[in-house]
Structures are given as C-alpha cells and as structure tokens.
Amino acid sequence: MSFREKSAWISVLSMSGIYGFYFWSVIHAGPKAGGFHFGGLLQTIIALVVLQVALTIAVAIFTPKEAKAPRDERDKLIELRAMRVAYSGLATAVALACFFGAFNPPIVFNANSLLFILVTAEILRSACQIVQYRRGA
C-alpha cells in the first residue's frame, strides 16, 4: 500500500469517526439544544487535525522513503479523478440543500447540513482515491 493510499485511509476513517460523532451529538441534542455550537465544532476540528497529523506522522516514521517521495503522475491522476467525483457530489448536494432551504428550515439545520455536505464530499474524495488505488488504476 502506497503512502498516498494510507493517507487516504487515514482521512476517510478519521473524518468518518470524528464527524460521525459530531453529527450524532447534534442529532441527539435535537432542536432543544438551540443555536450553532461553535465550541463543539471547534473541538471536532481540533480533534480531527490532531488525529490525522498523529497518524500521518506514525505512517511516515515506518515508511520514511515513501513519505518523502513526491506524488508521481499516477498519484496526481488519481487525485484529479477523485476530486472530479467529489465535486460533482458536492455540487449536487448543495443544489438539493438550496432547494430544501426554500422551505425555511431552522438556521441550525441549514448550517449543519452544509457542514455535512462538505464533510461527505471530502470523505467521498478520499474514498474514490482508495478505490482507484485498490483497483490498481
């Protein structure tokens, strides 16, 4: 498994876990929570950054040569393809969010929906990279 693929796995798993917990908390808190909890979101982002940096450093320690190597043409192609898929998903989801936004949902719902769309697009991007690496494309 290449370093880039390992990085993609770290991204998918860490984002799914940490943001999964965040959105579960938001849903569990329900409308009674009120407002958009920047504190909770900030903690989530910090936790994600710390986890991803720690795991990436750990992987780099075990494979220093691969970690230092720049992306080659295949890595760049895989990244571009994944970005295209993720962007298509992002654009579609935002369009849907705009449509449902016309029904005047609470602002907290809108804000968390947009965040969910962004996180999903990012997870989709990393997942697409993994699929391409697994297929040996």
């Binding site: 691969e66 190597a69 295949r74 040996g136 494309a137």
Partner: protein, 53 residues
C-alpha cells in the same frame, strides 16, 4: 532489477511500476521514454500497443 529499483530510476512509485507491469495503468510518454532508457531498448520493444485494448 526489482520494481523498487526501477521506480527509483524513473522517479515513479513502486506501486505505479506494478500497475504498469500489470497493464492497469498506461504511463505518460515521458515516463515511457525514461523506462525505455533504463533498459537501453527502443520504445517499441518495451511497450506494445494492441488496437483490441
């Protein structure tokens, strides 16, 4: 020559070399020329194109 050694000579990753050998990835022209140069062979003897592909 191992895949890793070839990868280092042509500045690609070992996984990319593996994908090229398995026919799952077509290298760029530049990479193809570098590979041919490593083996000291003309391009046509290292890479084969089949119209059926």
């Amino acid at each position: 020559m191992t895949q890793q050694e070839l990868a280092e000579k042509i500045k690609l990753t070992r996984q990319t070399v593996n994908a090229i050998e398995q026919g799952k990835y077509s290298p760029s022209l530049e990479a193809a020329f570098r590979i041919s140069a490593v083996f000291g062979k003309p391009l046509e003897s290292v890479f084969h194109y089949s119209q059926d592909e």
